[in-house]
């Protein structure tokens, strides 16, 4: 079974690596120090806790996991694992570790470290946001319920073998072992840090943290003992935080900065794009993101499916992409185009004001109605909310825009009957791992439609939930295509009930200096954001 999986993965990787041909032609060079900037400070580098898009890439490079992804692709490949096997029933995963892998404190990494790290991520005391991903491992409920601090489903018969016993087949399990929360950490370093491990990280990844001056900068240096030779390419990267994106861009143009992590402010986008070096400085690519309006199916008149369908026809998505200076494409279904399962033939609801009005009249609202649209209060989200407001007004729906801090919008969404409509901008779903299931459970499934949950449409379709469980149980790699098709159908079928108005698939923009090398998709890596292991400096 593993052989078949490996063959498929290798093929998929080769196909996905095709865009990397630029990199292949250039031959990456070793050496070089680069400067990266971000507006926000880095909160933590503890892999069990860190969960924002800025620290995500750094954690990826500081630690190793059993699985990882081929650079620039959504394809999982073994990493710390030298090999693995999956039992025919999909319930037991056995991993053999690479020998001689060392943590940056000098100690050799052994199987019990893997067990400890995942148990730590699940332990409620860690307060980690990733615990739920490990729900398929036996003993999960006992640990999250506080009965024990270990997971009975993980065995380590010797120093180089880890066995996972699952309580149900989980086709996403290899992805789960590749996310940051599954990073392997040494117990003694965590304990020595006395609750401050996020500032004193010890891992076995491609880089080590050399210096962290709080509020100013972090310096990462190449891990000379990394177990894969020749990786990474750059010697170090310095992350300067607290940098206003506009200033970062000016510095980048002067050659003081190599990667402006926050991208290009909308006001400067076209100017840079049209400049002589713009094409080489801008990396503009798709990411696993969908921005949408959540319609609360528990609130009148959104409990009427015709109203939800009518509003799906009322939104001018092209205009919203223009507000973003074209850094997005209109969406018609929950899954983004890069995600397996995305249905290219599905057209969704076309923009049609007349039809929308007619359907509203049919639903009993010929003169429209009044409602409230929530949005976060950071640019450009209020502007997009206003555009949505105008579109709604054109079909007679008067929406009051309530632009609040993100935390308040999240709280309103998680309170039943509170927020009739929410524009998801700034909080929209970006996949944790490239699998369609990650777009369902918490945001569209019945489990998420609870107080404090993330399913702000409060949509619960028992039939679709059953189909979702069945799809996730297809863990046999031979059924991968069937599973992907099943998931794709779930998402297009959801649109008949229209709990969302899918609006845009936002593109990600990174600005890099002329001396940086590597294909675009390692600067907008679908699983890493920026892949510090794969970028290089042109000499």
């Amino acid at each position: 079974m593993f052989k078949r999986w490996l063959q498929q993965t290798t093929m998929a990787t080769m196909v996905a690596l095709a865009p990397l041909s630029v990199m292949a032609q250039e031959t990456p060079k070793q050496g070089g120090d680069i400067v990266v900037t971000y507006k926000d400070d880095i909160t933590t580098l503890d892999p069990a806790i860190g969960y924002d898009w800025v620290n995500w890439s750094m954690i990826k490079s500081l630690y190793s996991r059993l699985m990882d992804y081929a650079p620039g692709t959504p394809n999982p490949v073994p990493s710390l694992a030298e090999s693995f096997t999956v039992s025919p029933d999909g319930l037991t995963y056995t991993f053999k570790l690479h020998k001689g892998v060392k943590f940056s404190n000098g100690r050799e990494l052994v199987a019990s470290d893997v067990k400890y790290s995942i148990e730590r991520a699940v332990d409620p005391k860690t307060q980690g946001p990733g615990a739920g991903f490990f729900g398929a491992i036996k003993g999960f409920e006992d640990e999250t319920g506080g009965k024990t601090t270990t997971l009975s489903g993980i065995e380590t018969p010797d120093d180089s073998t880890v066995i996972f016993n699952l309580s149900r087949p989980d086709a996403t399990f290899l992805h789960v072992l590749a996310i940051n929360f599954a990073s392997v950490v040494p117990k003694e370093a965590v304990e020595a840090a006395a609750g401050d491990f996020g500032k004193k990280p010890v891992g076995s990844g491609t880089f080590i943290l050399k210096d962290w001056t709080i509020g100013q900068q972090l310096v990462f240096e190449r891990n000379k003992d990394y177990f894969v030779k020749g990786v990474p390419y750059i010697d170090s990267f310095k992350v300067e935080v607290g940098q206003e994106p506009l200033v970062a861009l000016l510095r980048l143009q002067k050659g003081e900065v190599d990667i402006a992590g926050d991208g290009i402010p909308p006001a400067k986008f076209l100017e840079i794009k049209n400049s002589a070096d713009g094409a080489q400085m801008i990396v503009d690519g798709e990411q696993l993101h969908t921005g949408y309006i959540r319609l609360n199916t528990k609130v009148k008149p959104f409990d009427n499916v015709k109203v939800r369908q009518a509003l799906n026809m009322a939104i001018n998505k092209e205009r919203i992409t223009r507000i973003l200076n074209g850094r997005a494409t209109p969406a018609n279904q929950p899954l983004p185009p890069l995600m397996p399962g995305y249905d290219k033939s599905f057209t969704g609801y076309a923009y049609d004001v007349a039809k929308a009005k007619a359907l509203l009249a049919e639903a009993g609202y010929p003169d429209g109605f009044e409602t409230v649209l929530y949005s976060t209060n950071t640019d450009p989200q209020p502007r997009i909310a206003q555009a949505i407001q105008q579109d709604l007004a054109a079909v007679g729906v008067k929406a009051e825009v309530r632009a609040l801090a993100q935390a308040n919008v999240i709280a309103a969404g998680g309170t039943e009957g509170e927020a009739p409509m929410i524009w998801s901008g700034g909080m929209a779903w970006i996949a944790d791992f490239p699998d369609p299931s990650n777009f369902y459970g918490p945001i569209l499934g019945c489990a998420g439609a609870v107080p404090g949950g993330w399913n702000w449409s409060w949509y619960c379709n028992a039939d679709l939930d059953k189909r979702a469980v069945a799809a996730d149980s297809m863990s046999d790699p031979a059924k991968a295509a069937e599973r992907t098709a099943a998931w794709g159908k779930i998402f297009t079928d959801i649109m008949a009930d229209a709990p969302w108005i899918p609006v845009i698939n936002e593109r990600r923009v990174v600005a890099k200096s002329m001396r940086m090398g590597g294909a675009d998709n390692i600067y907008i890596d679908p699983t890493r954001v920026i892949n510090y292991d794969a970028i290089y400096v042109k000499q």
Partner: protein, 306 residues
């Protein structure tokens, strides 16, 4: 003097307690749930409940506040929810940067304000006076963000005289301090001008002139020290304003102060950090006002006799 000090210290403690109580209640009343923010999007209700319990958020408000005050008495501001780090460590790491910027900003605004205000008063009604008043009007009205970006674009990006952002050397400090100074100097200039005009009309100034002292000597030795008194009180108040005002300047110039820390904490509903920064700022304002009260009698003996 000692009794004044004791009375002011007791007042300071009461004010701090009040600030702590009000901030705590306001943050508690927020509809946002920090446990939900920390737990992330994929968390189960059980995980959220576990985190809420670990943070003590399931305790009654009074118990939580009591615990907070108890910790505060031991100098413990708590641990950041998002960063899982001691709040005081985070504030202490950034406080020197904010204090440096604040002092440099105050220095620039006082020097600018005193100079311009004095010149305007001496040339009252003339062209120079009108120009100074107009400049001070523009300085006080212009958004800090705009001034910061203009200076940055002209002096750093175009002419390359100063670094565009960062921290650690005198050259890094110049532009942020000048930005703060320009935006604050207008008030000082206006105040010094009116105070100076008042002083210049006093009998003792007339006497000094009658004695045949030079105009420069009359202004610098006799008039200015008396006209400067309102400024002392204003510097104390300014410390409070600067604690808020530096947020914008810190953001533009990438200055690693507590303003940035506070802004990020607000986004994440990181209550321990918001509380810590608020209390630190309140303390700075109290100390500023206390210093103003202590220094004023030294400069003006009339205050001592009141």
């Amino acid at each position: 003097m000692a009794s004044l000090m004791l009375r002011r210290l007791a007042q300071a403690a009461l004010i701090l307690l009040g600030v702590a109580a009000i901030t705590f209640v306001l943050l508690y009343a927020l509809p946002a749930d920090p446990a939900r923010m920390i737990a992330g999007r994929s968390a189960t209700a059980q995980t959220v409940a576990n985190i809420r319990h670990e943070l003590g958020l399931d305790q009654p408000l009074l118990v939580q506040f009591g615990t907070y005050l108890g910790n505060l008495l031991h100098g413990n501001l708590g641990r950041s929810y998002a960063q899982k780090t001691d709040v005081w460590t985070l504030i202490a790491a950034r406080l020197p940067a904010t204090l440096t910027l604040m002092l440099a900003g105050i220095f620039v605004e006082v020097v600018l304000g005193l100079t311009l205000g004095t010149i305007a008063a001496v040339r009252r009604g003339g062209f120079v006076d009108r120009m100074v008043m107009m400049a001070s009007f523009v300085g006080t009205s212009a958004p800090q963000f705009l001034v910061a970006l203009l200076l940055l674009y002209l002096l750093a990006a175009t002419l390359g005289w100063f670094p565009m952002s960062g921290y650690g050397s005198f050259s890094h400090l110049v532009l942020p301090a000048v930005t703060l100074g320009i935006c604050g100097a207008g008030w000082y200039a206006r105040m010094v001008r009116s105070s100076m005009i008042d002083v210049l009309n006093q009998d003792y100034v007339r006497t000094a002139r009658a004695k045949g002292l030079s105009s420069k000597r009359v202004i610098l030795r006799h008039a200015l020290p008396n006209a400067v008194l309102p400024i002392i009180a204003m510097i104390g108040i300014d410390i409070g304003q600067f604690m808020g005002g530096v947020v914008v300047v810190e953001a533009v110039y990438g200055w690693p102060g507590i303003g940035q820390l506070a802004w990020q904490a607000i986004q994440q509903v990181d209550i321990p950090i918001i509380m810590g920064v608020t209390l630190t700022s309140a303390l700075a304002i109290i100390i500023g006002n206390l210093l103003a009260d202590l220094v004023a009698p030294v400069i003006d003996p009339r205050i001592r006799t009141r």
